[in-house]
Amino acid sequence: MSTSLRNNQPIVFAATAAGLLLLGTALAFYWVPNAPIEGFRQRIFYVHVPIALTAYASFAWGAWKALRLLWTRDRRYDLESYTAVHIGVIFGVLTLLTGSIWARTSWGHWWVWGSRQLVLFLVLFLFYAAYFMLRFSVDPGPRRANISAVYALFGVALIPVSFLAIRLAEDLVHPVVFTHDVQNRLTASQFTTFGICFAGMLALAGSLYVNELTGKRLDARLRELREALQ
């Protein structure tokens, strides 16, 4: 990566996210026709699903950085893994909020405890929310980094379970749209809009990740500097 691109990473991510999300929202409202069953409310799909997939991607990124930490013992991966989990939790909150509103308008309930995929996502979210409690219950240093990395790696095993639960669930409350079934599958306009919104959400996550990581690095350096000066 060139130096100028690396220096302008936050701006590139933020501008890409803003452009793609504005375009995706415009397409969702003015280009995509109403879905046969869901009608107008199907537009929630272009926000909710990209956010959920971005949460999975952030947790997976955190696990990858955790693996790099355990593999190389390079301490910088600890902060990167922690930041990715932090961003994943923000997107997890958004997934639960947007999913809950969609559930209310589609099923008449804010939450359905009988739906395995919803409960599994909640378990995944709570697992990563507990990451912070674990992390801050251990003193800073290599032990904290290693314990956090192992925890982040364990959590990633829940992602395929949570993702596949939507397909394997027998209750079929949660809709499945990425399918070969002609009646339920996405049309070209729906898929294009979804792709743009998903790319926008990934860019937004990238923007938050880069900014948050810069802030956390700065915080750590200032702490070191304070210790050196006192």
Partner: protein, 54 residues
């Protein structure tokens, strides 16, 4: 506005609100970091003065 339109609007507004909340919280963090940098600069200046005096 129909019920579906209200819920769809709510979803988009929730996302916007959470992103804006993040920006507000991050601006507080930046203010704190800026304050800490000023404190450390003062600390470094005082340390330099003490070293010169010695």
């Amino acid at each position: 506005m129909t019920s579906a339109e209200k819920y769809v609007t709510a979803v988009y507004l929730v996302v916007l609100a959470v992103v804006l909340l993040y920006v507000v919280l991050y601006s507080f963090k930046l203010s704190r970091l800026e304050r800490e940098v000023s404190e450390l600069a003062e600390l470094a200046a005082r340390k330099a003065e003490r070293q010169e005096a010695a």
